[in-house]
C-alpha cells in the first residue's frame, strides 16, 4: 500500500465516519439520557431522508436554487423530531417509564414496524434519489480521484460541529444538566423541581430530530428506499455499544474507527468490510468492557 492509496482510504474513511456519526449521535443521545435503545431511530432516519428528498424535489420543481436543499434538511429534521418524535414519546414511551427496559425497547420496535409500512404507503416502493445538495457543491480532485465536496468536507465539518455543540450543550448548559440529572434518577429530579416529563420529551424530540438530520444529510448521497432504516439501526447500535453508554465523544471516535476500518478493509481485504463494525465492537469491548469512553458503574455498598 503506497502513500496515495493510504491517503485515499483515509479520506473515504473520514467521509463515511462523518455520516455514521451524524446518524448514530441521536441514538446515543436518547440512549444516554433515557436508557432506551430506540429501534425506531432507523425509521426516523429514513423518514428524514424521504422528507428531504421530497421537499427538495418539490422546491426545485418550483424553480428555486439547489442550495435551498440545505435549509430543507434542517426543516425535515425538525419536522421528524416534532411530528414523529414528540408523539412517540408523549403517547407511548411516557406510559411505560416505570416498566422494564425491554418493554421500552419493544415499543420502539413496534413503532419501527409501523413506520416501515407507513413509509411504503406514503412513498411507495421505488427508490428515490435527490442529489441536488451534493451536486451544488461540486467536486475536488485528490491524487486523480474525484471526491464530492459534500462528503469529503461538508459532512466531516458538520459532524464536528454536532459533536462540539452537543458536548457543550450537555456539559455546560443548565438544560444539559437537567437532562443528565433526570437521566440518573427521575424521582430525585422531580423532587428538586425538574419537570422530568418535559425533559424526556425535549430529549426525545432532539434525538429524533438528529435521526432525521442524519437521514437528511445522507439523502443526497444514496438511494432512499424501503428497508434503509433497518440497516442503519444495527450499525448505530454497534456505535452506541462500542462508544460506551451515551458517550457522544465515544460515538464520534467509534464512527471514525468504523469508517477507517471499513475503507481500509475495502482497499486491503474487501471481503471483511461487512464485518468491520462487529469486529471493532468485539475488540473494543474485550479490552474495555464498558465501551470506549464508558466508565464502570460501581454499585454503592
Amino acid at each position: 500500500m503506497n502513500l496515495t492509496i493510504f491517503l485515499l482510504a483515509l479520506f473515504d474513511g473520514i467521509a463515511y465516519a462523518a455520516l455514521v456519526f451524524s446518524v448514530a449521535v441521536g441514538l446515543t443521545l436518547i440512549f444516554g439520557v433515557m436508557r432506551i435503545l430506540n429501534v425506531a431511530h432507523g425509521s426516523l432516519y429514513a423518514v428524514g431522508a424521504y422528507l428531504t428528498a421530497t421537499l427538495t424535489g418539490y422546491v426545485l420543481a418550483l424553480g428555486f436554487a439547489p442550495l435551498l436543499a440545505f435549509p430543507l434538511m434542517i426543516v425535515s429534521a425538525v419536522l421528524v423530531g416534532v411530528l414523529l418524535g414528540g408523539p412517540i414519546e408523549w403517547l407511548l414511551l411516557r406510559r411505560i417509564y416505570n416498566k422494564p427496559e425491554v418493554l421500552q425497547l419493544l415499543v420502539t420496535f413496534a413503532v419501527f414496524m409501523i413506520l416501515e409500512d407507513v413509509q411504503r404507503l406514503v412513498w411507495g416502493t421505488q427508490p428515490y434519489f435527490q442529489a441536488s445538495a451534493l451536486q451544488a457543491l461540486g467536486m475536488v480532485k485528490v491524487f486523480g480521484v474525484n471526491y464530492t465536496v459534500y462528503q469529503l468536507i461538508l459532512l466531516p465539518l458538520l459532524a464536528l460541529t454536532l459533536l462540539v455543540g452537543l458536548r457543550f450543550f450537555l456539559r455546560h448548559t443548565i438544560l444539559g444538566k437537567l437532562i443528565l440529572a433526570t437521566t440518573e434518577d427521575r424521582e430525585a429530579a422531580q423532587s428538586i423541581g425538574i419537570d422530568a416529563d418535559k425533559v424526556f420529551l425535549v430529549t426525545f424530540i432532539v434525538g429524533a430530530a438528529l435521526a432525521g438530520l442524519g437521514g437528511a444529510l445522507a439523502s443526497p448521497t444514496t438511494s432512499i428506499l424501503p428497508g434503509m432504516g433497518a440497516d442503519m439501526i444495527v450499525l448505530s447500535f454497534a456505535v452506541v455499544a462500542t462508544a460506551g453508554l451515551g458517550q457522544i465523544e465515544g460515538a464520534a471516535f467509534t464512527a471514525l474507527l468504523i469508517g477507517l476500518g471499513r475503507s481500509f478493509a475495502v482497499y486491503v481485504w474487501p471481503e471483511t468490510a461487512v464485518l468491520v463494525p462487529y469486529l471493532i465492537m468485539l475488540i473494543v469491548l474485550l479490552v474495555r468492557p464498558e465501551g470506549l469512553f464508558g466508565s464502570p458503574t460501581a454499585r454503592k455498598i
Binding site: D12, F129, R262
Partner: protein, 406 residues
C-alpha cells in the same frame, strides 16, 4: 369445470425487492382483469391472491401451503431464488403446478428433476452469457475488468458465470478488482475511489434496485462513468429512476427481452395497450418483472388452452395441464418463450447501449441486440459453469442475434 381458476402468486410487497414485486403485482392485476373481461381461461375467470415474500420464509411456506390446501389450481413462486429453492420441492410434494415466474438461479433444474415446477423465463446463465457476448461485440478489445456485485447468492452466482464465460471467450482479460459490498449498502464511496485509482476498462455490476441506483449515482457524480464502461445487466429496471444520471455509452441488460420499447413488439397493439394501461395504473414504465409476470400468466393460459384442446374442449385434469407444458410455446409481452424438456423456459435476451436521446426524461437504449435464447441456454443435463467454461471464441460468432440500430 371450476367456478374460478385460483392462482396464488408470491411476490415481494415489502423489503428492498418490492421494486420488482409491486410492479409485477400491478401487472398481474391488469392482465388478469383484461383476461377475465375476455372470458378468462377456457371460460373460467382467474382469481389471484398474493403472498408477500418479504414476510419471511415461515409465513411464505405456511401461506403457500394454506392456499394449495385451500384449492389453488396453480401457484407462481417466487422472485427470490432462495424462496424458489424452498417452494419448488414443496410444490412437488404437494403436487401443485408451480410456475417460477422470476427467480434466476440456474441450479434448480440442473440439480433436480421436477414434474410440477416450470420456469417461464430464462435463468442466470443465458442472461450473463448474452451480456458477455454483447460486451465482446461492442467493445472487443478491452483489457481489464472489475466487478461490484451485491454480496448474496445472485451477486456471487452471476459473477461466477460471467467470469467463467469471459475467461472462455476472451482469455486475455484481466480481472483487476472484485468487490462484494453488502446487500443494501448505502454507500459505495470507498469502492469508487478504489476503482478510480485502478481505472479498469469495464466495470460489471449485476446489482439491482436501490443498490444499483446508489452505485450508479455515486459513480456518475464522481466521474467514474466517464473513464470506465459500465456493464449493468439489470439496469433496464432502473432506467426511469436514474433519470438523467445515467450517461450514454454503458451496456444495459434486461434479464430477457424486456424493454418497454421492445423493437419487435413496440408497435403491436396488445403491447401498446398494456403499456398504456400500466402507465396509467402505476405512473411508471414497465420493467422486466412486469414482462416476467406476463409470461407466467401467458404460459398458464396457453397450457390450459392446449390441454382443453387436446381433450376436445373439456376441462382438463391437473395431470393433463402438466402434460401440456411439455414443449409449450407462449408469448407474453416479449418474444415467444418455449418450455424445454427439463421444464426450463427458453427466452431471448435483449441488451443495448444507454443514450440520453431526449425523447424521455431518462436514458433509453440504442444499438439494441436480441440474442436467440436456444443457443445461450445450458444444454439439458449439463451444469452451467462447467458448460460455460468449455465454450470457445468461435461459439460467440455462432449465436444468432438480431441487431437494431435505433
Amino acid at each position: 369445470k371450476p367456478a374460478e381458476l385460483k392462482v396464488g402468486i408470491t411476490t415481494f410487497l415489502t423489503g428492498p425487492a418490492s421494486v420488482f414485486g409491486v410492479p409485477a403485482r400491478d401487472a398481474a392485476e391488469i392482465i388478469v382483469e383484461k383476461l377475465n373481461a375476455e372470458g378468462g381461461i377456457g371460460g373460467v375467470p382467474v382469481a389471484l391472491s398474493f403472498i408477500d415474500e418479504g414476510a419471511g420464509a415461515e409465513a411464505l411456506t405456511t401461506e403457500f401451503r394454506r392456499q394449495v390446501e385451500g384449492g389453488a389450481h396453480a401457484m407462481m413462486g417466487a422472485i427470490s431464488s432462495g424462496n424458489c429453492q424452498t417452494l419448488a420441492p414443496l410444490a412437488e410434494d404437494l403436487q401443485v403446478l408451480n410456475l417460477m415466474w422470476d427467480c434466476g438461479t440456474q441450479q434448480i433444474f440442473e440439480q433436480n428433476d421436477y414434474k410440477y415446477v416450470f420456469r417461464t423465463q430464462a435463468n442466470a446463465t443465458p442472461e450473463m452469457l448474452a451480456t458477455v457476448l454483447y460486451l465482446l461485440k461492442v467493445k472487443p478489445d478491452f483489457k481489464t475488468i472489475a466487478v461490484v456485485n451485491q454480496d448474496y447468492a445472485w451477486g456471487r452466482d452471476s459473477w461466477q458465470i460471467f467470469s467463467a464465460a469471459l475467461k472462455a471467450l476472451k482469455p486475455d482479460v484481466e480481472v483487476v478488482g472484485e468487490f462484494f459490498p453488502k446487500f443494501g449498502a448505502a454507500d459505495f464511496s470507498t469502492e469508487i475511489s478504489r476503482l478510480q485509482a485502478m481505472q479498469p476498462d469495464v466495470i460489471l455490476s449485476t446489482s439491482w434496485g436501490g443498490d444499483l441506483d446508489t452505485f450508479i449515482q455515486q459513480a456518475a457524480q464522481r466521474g467514474l462513468m466517464n473513464t470506465s464502461t459500465f456493464v449493468i445487466p439489470l439496469a433496464e429496471s432502473s432506467l426511469e429512476r436514474l433519470g438523467s444520471t445515467l450517461p450514454a455509452g454503458h451496456i444495459v441488460g434486461a434479464r430477457g427481452d424486456h424493454y418497454f420499447l421492445h423493437p419487435d413488439r413496440r408497435d403491436d397493439a396488445d403491447f401498446q395497450e398494456f403499456m398504456a394501461a400500466f402507465r396509467e395504473k402505476t405512473g411508471a414504465h414497465a420493467i422486466y418483472p412486469v414482462f416476467h409476470m406476463s409470461q407466467a400468466l401467458a404460459a398458464l393460459k396457453a397450457a390450459y388452452e392446449k390441454a382443453i384442446a387436446a381433450k376436445g374442449g373439456e376441462w382438463p385434469e391437473e395431470d393433463e395441464v402438466i402434460a401440456a407444458f411439455e414443449g409449450l410455446t407462449f408469448q407474453g409481452l416479449g418474444r415467444e418463450v418455449t418450455i424445454r424438456e427439463d421444464n426450463q423456459g427458453i427466452e431471448a435476451q435483449l441488451l443495448g447501449m444507454s443514450v440520453q436521446s431526449g425523447d424521455y426524461p431518462f436514458a433509453t437504449l440504442e444499438n439494441i441486440m436480441i440474442f436467440d435464447g436456444e443457443a445461450l441456454t445450458t444444454p439439458v443435463g449439463q451444469e452451467s459453469v462447467e458448460w460455460v467454461s468449455k465454450l470457445t471464441p468461435e461459439y460467440a460468432a455462432s449465436v444468432k442475434v438480431d441487431t437494431y440500430e435505433k
